[in-house]
Symmetry: D2
Subunit: 341 residues, 4 copies
């Protein structure tokens, strides 16, 4: 049910005009005359009223506002599917009792470094390897990733360590290589509303890790998940990675309240990326623990054997020994909230 709030002193004719419009969409209406405002309650399956039709009604004479009661996403909604979605990748479950850790370098730089890091994070208990072959960079003059070659290095590191691989897609034309070499496809924050890319990954049979846009509301984020799911791919996980605020002391503001909120609104697994969320190495560990305490299903953490030689985001990467220590500490926190790691 949606509600149409009328402007004060709307004419009878304008009201009839609106009611006729609703009728033409197969909807019934319930007019309530208040002391100061008249409202129209719309009855029927308003979920079939598109955003566009709603906009058109909003543009009609006499309409002050439309209040949406129902959520605009369906497949992603907890109302649609009550039980948690568990996504299984090569036998590893994301969204279950065990919290999974995805670790690795920001960018794939070369075969040796990558394999070295992969072995280290595997030792410490990571379940997935991350690494970017295609890198979205603010500057056209920065390293843009090794591309297909990088994907192959990832696949090799995966084979050696047994860790499935998470990597980012930036262009729908790269989908074949990504599907061939990766186990989970990442949609980066800047592409959260690259709708064509969403439709592309919605059409393949690989889980998708969908990062939250820099200034995306929770609702918009779930709508982007809905885009992917609307094409048939229901294996979507949502990754909080910090939002943009006025604060400049941290790279972004990690919005951990999104974690329990998403758990109410959706059945999809929730991942947290404390590395991008704060952008400062010393803050990664406390925020990783906080994410686990808040209810995250998985963490994605940047690890590099030599951060000062990293091609990107060195400032926020953990060294392997520090990562190993963090994994131990996370175990205790996970246990404290009834989870495992």
């Amino acid at each position: 049910m949606d509600i149409i709030v009328l402007q004060p002193e709307t004419s009878e004719e304008d009201i009839r005009h609106i009611l006729k419009k609703l009728e033409s969409k197969g909807l019934k209406a319930n007019v309530s005359q208040g002391t100061e405002r008249t409202i129209i309650g719309v009855i029927g399956d308003t979920s079939k009223v598109t955003e566009d039709e709603e906009d058109a009604i909003r543009a009609m004479a006499g309409v002050e506002n439309i209040v949406r009661i129902l959520k605009p996403y369906k497949l992603a909604s907890r109302d649609f599917k009550k039980e948690n979605t568990e996504i299984t990748v090569k036998g590893i479950v994301i969204g279950g009792k065990k919290i999974q850790v995805i670790a690795g370098p920001c960018a794939v730089e070369n075969r040796t470094i990558l394999t070295g890091i992969a072995e280290k994070v595997k030792e410490s208990g990571a379940a997935f390897l991350r690494g970017g072959a295609y890198k979205p960079r603010t500057s056209p003059y920065s390293f843009q990733g090794l591309g297909l070659e990088g994907l192959k290095y990832l696949a090799e590191a995966s084979e050696k360590t047994g860790l499935p691989v998470v990597t980012e897609i930036m262009d729908p034309r790269d989908i074949d290589g990504i599907v061939e070499y990766a186990d989970i496809i990442q949609i980066g924050a800047r592409n959260m509303q690259n709708f064509r890319l969403l439709l592309e990954v919605g059409s393949v049979n690989k889980p998708v890790l969908l990062k939250r846009g820099l200034s995306a509301t929770i609702k918009e984020w779930l709508m982007s998940a809905e885009y992917i799911m609307s094409r048939g791919n229901h294996n979507v996980m949502l990754c909080e990675r910090g939002i943009r605020t006025f604060e400049t002391a941290t790279r972004n503001t990690l919005d951990l309240s999104a974690v329990p909120l998403l758990k109410q609104l959706t059945h999809l697994p929730v991942v947290v990326d404390p590395s991008h969320g704060v952008g400062k190495r010393d803050l990664v560990a406390p925020m990783a623990k906080a994410a686990v305490a808040a209810g995250a299903d998985a963490l994605i953490i940047e690890v590099h054997t030599n951060p000062e030689e990293a091609f990107s985001d060195g400032e926020q990467s953990l060294r392997p020994d520090y990562f190993a220590k963090l994994m131990q500490e996370l175990k205790a926190v996970a246990q404290a909230v009834g989870r495992e790691i």
Copy 2:
């Protein structure tokens, strides 16, 4: 010149380590010991130090912070090119004394409506026709545009009225059709950092209207212009269309101070979109006037013959008669600030 600020009590060895690193990049350094902090001034062409190398230095022991003095964009910078860039499209100049108005519906709906609107806005003095054939929509269930068919309708309306056409690209795979039928390619706010798309439009010979991202800083926006220009296409215009803030009474917060600021920082023409900036029909006219007073080179305004039947954004579209009146009023404001319209 960049500045490296050291942590208090950084060891001599760490400092030597940093200096050696700089040397290896062909840079000289100037160490200044202050009473409370030591800083290293870097001398030489630091513009060749990539973002990545900078990150790597930031990750070194002893480094508290790096202060960038130089702007990260070059081709887009007023330092690089002092005189204003004027972009000429079918004989119409954007960025000159005359302020150009781009008008039309949000989405191309059908041939008749589009041509009707085109004729009306032409009559009132608009210089360009806008209309979306590919529509980025928050919901996968909303109208996504007519695609190639829509491009053809635009071309027809253009031929009938003589108005060149501005339309949005969403997918690099659509570039051929867009180049064939459009006169100016629009990059929408959500794609401002869709870097592959930027490179794509940077490789063709058509002017680009680059909208500011919802939460993009001025610097990031200029870096996106730089992406396009780095591929050889220097005909870029920047379009302010409102940023996301905490305020919910307007759709976005139109940042008009971006206009005079951009005029200082860059030689590129500046366009303002008051329709998306505020999202409410009644606020479009005053904000269009304010944009002209602030120094905009062009305006882009949504006009629809029947907003309540529009497929999208009806709420912010002006009716043709109202648009005609606005055009008259804008003339006076333009004149007051030494421009024409």
Copy 3:
């Protein structure tokens, strides 16, 4: 009329409980069973339901959300008073056809400088003198203003030039001095929700210039005006001075769309402060023009004879000759939008 949205599957008993609560407040209810949600339309004078009672209802079992239809402010609302409020200060009208300009230094520094500036801005056509005797400073180590002495200098400068004086109050204990020496009392952005201060200035018989808080919504701002008016002082003017966003290239983001929006929502005069809004001298003039074009009733502009010796905000102060030139340019813009200056 307010609307209570119920959670799906709310029990009959919970609904009865809610209806009983409403009845106890003298309100009637209209239950509409939709296909997916049930809503309760509340009928009667809901404006008497306090924020607290609303919160209490929101906390009841079964309630998913409450939608407020009516505005929470009354005296400040355009619904309450249709015609514009004009505030007359020593014969000068704010809120009429003529746009008034308030000019002067950020802080009162000494008698000579102040009088010098006052004479200059008077010459150029300013109608009011601004100057802070009590200065809200971020640092306790910064100049905090001359206090009572500063107020006296303001009164002297006012007497010499005939310009009425606008000055800021920071502490309810300073009210007597302020009322004695000032003509308009300014509430600064940081005190927009200093409710005790609002009540204090609401109890005296002097017009109040209420600056918008750094991250205040339009609604909260109008509620702060309502605080003042609720005590009997209806001479309130609202001053937009920039809001805080993620953008760091300007000091704040001047939200000019607030001007036409406020003109719809309230009958109170609207003032714009481009100096604080942008914080950079070169951007003040274009934004002052834009403010006039957007419909501002008054401008408040920082002017200093020697900005580099100013005790505060030198970076955004205009020199008198530049201010004189701006006043000329503003005349043309005012005329273009049917106003005078």
Copy 4:
């Protein structure tokens, strides 16, 4: 050491002018000519250069920018005092190994309800009682608190339970009553930059709980602590309570990364208020756990025996049994991060 960045092509004369100015402040300068920019490194105790003098320099011809290297706060800085500040109130230590919990209703409503809640939270292990006698409310028509009477009820509940009391001050004129009846004085978010109030509580001998402003940066927040400390009261604790962002699904965005960041920047204890931070009862528990995991020294949580009858903020208050359960769960998390509760 501060850095002055010069505009390109600054004249020798302008540079001499700036150097002379620095000299007049007893500072030395180190001019470095880069290939694209010249910078001046300022040597000497720049911490004595006030904000105002800095602004004045920024306003000089040739100055493009000033980069502050040193932090503007001193007493609050970790550089000034390396060891953690522990604040002891009636034998209870805030800032030590044990995490303290402050609990109670938003507002003091009457003697019976308050004492009832106090007894309940005491039973569950809370160390302090919170409750507002003076309430900052957005609307002048909302319940404004019981005032002095409320303070007396707090003192009674404190005597009965042994729990020391935290309550908010809104007006410097209320200081005597607050000092008489309260054990910790709270400065609310809206008053974080009510500088006169800060100076007032800086002059008394009671610990202060300083809430972060709705859109305050970490730096501004620490400057407000500095205000209090500059008057001699060094017992300040900082309370994160959520910042304002574009997200509307939660009341605020709780910025937990502020916790570890503050631990680096300052020696003062850090408190987290998850109740106001999220504003939704169901999210309070996970965020309280996350706050502990992130390193908070104390939590402040709203508890009410009957949220739906609460005079304010009922929506975010926990019932006592739920609070008791949460206290148990927090113990496990605290232990996992090497703390106690």
